[in-house]
């Protein structure tokens, strides 16, 4: 009887850990985004967690730099972290892709962030009309979308 209880306990423990790991995988992107935002990571913390960036872009005019991280297999851009000249994080830009786009729909964002409003702005400065579709959720959270409503990037002010 004792052995059966032990086996049952080990089984329940394993199942619990597995379920938690599955949840971690499905929510890993949001988990990391929320963590970086709430803890206001700096440049050093970002690099120690994610490793060396795939690219660094210097914005000399504004004394900023962008740490660019790509998805490992496709080399498509995944992150841009805007860093001040003091090493402070100013903005997180995250780009969903095929692997996680379901977690970053406009409906998902509206449920996670408050006061979201869809916007459409027009740029006539070129010979072609350029529309920007966005979801504005207060001062600090914004999502950019394409014409058919897919979220192409999210932008979080720190």
């Amino acid at each position: 009887m004792r052995n059966k209880i032990k086996i049952l306990f080990v089984f329940l423990l394993t199942a619990s850990c597995t379920h938690e790991k599955i949840n971690d995988n499905t929510q890993s992107e949001w988990g990391l985004i929320n963590k970086i935002e709430s803890e206001k990571w700096n440049e050093g913390k970002i690099i120690s967690w994610l490793g060396a960036p795939n690219d660094i872009h210097e914005n000399e005019k504004q004394n900023l730099k962008y740490l660019i991280y790509d998805y490992p297999k496709s080399n498509h851009q995944k992150w841009s972290f805007e860093i001040s000249n003091k090493g402070e994080l100013r903005n997180i830009t995250f780009l969903p892709n095929s692997s996680n786009r379901n977690d970053f729909s406009s409906e998902q964002l509206s449920s996670k962030w408050t006061g979201c409003v869809k916007q459409k702005s027009t740029d006539n400065s070129q010979h072609f009309i350029r529309y920007t579709y966005s979801l504005e959720c207060g001062e600090k959270h914004k999502a950019y979308m394409n014409k058919i409503g897919e979220v192409t990037s999210i932008s979080i002010e720190i």
Partner: protein, 224 residues
């Protein structure tokens, strides 16, 4: 990357190359669990393709922002020449559904032969377009329409090949090789310039990596 390019060259007509990626596990909306997996590079059917339906219009398009444009009627010969030019474009660049095409005298932008509202599938040809070449002008403007119809994943593929990055919704690139100088302003213009050059000049002024990718996207390598 070498093996990916080998596959990219084999995508059949009507399909385009998609780079490999890792997919985390997730739950579908119906509750089905899908385990994490590595998705190999593969060919995928285009997100949008619909036979061309051309509508010749005479009045200013609704909401057209370039208010100084003077619109006029099409002549029969002009319509014929435009249809002929469109028929000579690659199928992928032509089959973009309904296109409303207008005729105006002169653009408010200097040395500009055509304008477009890509998201509304609107193209305007000015007087100078005939001398410039209808095929070249339409290759450029239809590219704008095509770009507007690409899915998020399809656009990301182009950004990756052409080295465009994003921050706060704005685009920038470290590239300094552009087929036309205004290509440095926006990825849409870079795309349209490059497609124009690939279609008209076989991509001789286009970064080789981008040119090869665009030929795949346009089905030019497989087109008979």
């Amino acid at each position: 990357m070498m093996s990916s390019w080998a596959l990219a060259d084999q995508c059949p007509s009507g399909q385009y190359f998609v780079s490999a990626y890792s997919r985390d596990s997730y739950y579908r909306q119906d509750g089905t669990f899908v385990k994490a997996t590595n998705v190999d590079a593969h060919c995928r059917t285009y997100n949008f393709s619909s036979p061309l339906k051309l509508k010749f219009e005479d009045q200013m398009p609704q909401g057209w922002p370039y208010q100084l444009d003077l619109f006029k009627k099409w002549t029969t010969i002009e319509k014929r020449d435009v249809k002929k030019a469109l028929d000579s474009l690659p199928k992928r660049l032509r089959d973009l559904g309904e296109i409303k095409i207008y005729r105006a005298v002169k653009s408010s932008f200097p040395n500009n032969h055509a304008s477009s509202g890509p998201d509304d599938s609107v193209i305007v040809l000015y007087d100078s377009a005939k001398k410039f070449g209808y095929k070249q002008a339409l290759a450029h403007e239809m590219s704008h329409v095509l770009f507007s119809k690409l899915s998020a994943d399809e656009k990301e593929e182009y950004y990756s090949f052409s080295d465009w990055k994003q921050n706060r919704g704005s685009f920038y690139t470290k590239r300094n090789d552009f087929s036309e100088s205004d290509g440095s302003l926006f990825p849409e213009e870079d795309f349209a310039n490059n497609v124009e050059h690939v279609v008209i000049k076989n991509g001789s002024s286009v970064n080789r990596r981008i040119s090869d990718y665009l030929k795949l996207l346009l089905g030019l390598k497989n087109e008979k």
